[in-house]
Symmetry: C3
């Protein structure tokens, strides 16, 4: 077993990182289920299998799910990079866990606000709060490695 996984901050990061990836996967599954329920398929071959080419069409709620998913990619994937590096620069476990927890909770609220079309600016606020630990980690990492620019 590698050295890193025995580091408790890195293990904490891994725990939250995997939960975030599962959250993304759940959004993909929801999108697929909504496509089936609304009969709105992006590809003619899928429409043909589910009733005919008239179902090769867009649906506003499917597009909403897509936007939620793409926003997750834009934010969770960079977090996976920042969190991994941040875990290696020696933060305290409590502070690191707080960063990861704020991100997980804000991004979960972001997905809920998107899927249920909660009143603005709920979703935007969740996005902004989730970015705070990311900017914090980015700044701390840059200070730790700036000598190697």
């Amino acid at each position: 077993m590698a050295v890193m996984i025995r580091n408790e901050v890195f293990s904490c990061y891994v725990f939250y990182g995997v939960l975030l990836v599962i959250k993304m996967y759940i959004l993909a599954i929801i999108t697929g289920q909504v496509r089936l329920r609304k009969k709105a398929f992006a590809n003619p071959e899928d429409a043909l299998r589910h009733g005919g080419l008239q179902y090769h069409r867009q649906d506003p709620y499917v597009e909403r799910c897509r936007r939620a998913h793409i926003n997750d990619m834009e934010n969770i994937l960079p977090f996976l990079f920042l969190g991994a590096i941040y875990s290696m620069i020696g933060p305290s476990l409590a502070v690191a866990r707080f960063h990861f927890l704020v991100f997980l909770m804000s991004r979960t609220l972001h997905s809920i606000a998107y899927l249920f079309a909660l009143q603005a600016p709920t979703r935007s606020l969740a996005y902004i709060v989730a970015q705070i630990p990311c900017f914090s980690m980015a700044v701390q990492i840059l200070m730790a490695v700036a000598a190697y620019a």
Copy 2:
């Protein structure tokens, strides 16, 4: 040279990970070539260079290539995270390679099914089979680090 790259499971993960990234790059190159051949450009400045603003337009096959590429991002990028961590929790080389190989082969079939519009549900099955090693890795990782939640 770092310790990790001398770990044979991690090296195996790296091999498959790089092939998957190259597969994504190939999809991007195909999309660009299809844009040129179909004369369908997302940006007016590109259309102007290739014959005029009438080619600033959408094309169904270009959009298909785009969807294939975005689906790759949604699935291959989280795999790169899960596979790296999974390699650090001490799986046997044979079991780990089987996870990576199933994912690479399923995602390659997924791209082929998308680009050639193979009859449904070929593409969906390829997507689902590729998710199985991902869920397997996610569960094993969570069990390994749950104590650090």
Copy 3:
């Protein structure tokens, strides 16, 4: 503190990786500001908050920002993977820094060319130049780990 972060090539990679992530974040912020200025919202709940449902609409410049951002995801996220692994296979610091610097500068030019709609093929050339260090890293990594296929 983990062993890796004391590796100077890895630290150099981290420095450029974080700058690239910040560059992506800036594109997201620009997109949001353009949505507000152009009053073009992807979600009805956002439009309602900013003047009415008539602002639930697409805008060509917002779509341009979106394409710039998605292109960043397609290229910067795989770089974060390739750069991390490449740092572990023992390149010289000078050669590695050159790979990272070419990528950062080309991707920055790519974003500028996209946002200002610079004459073609500026943006495409920036994309191609940025891919050269990525292909170089991919090939060197495959040669280093091919024995573990």
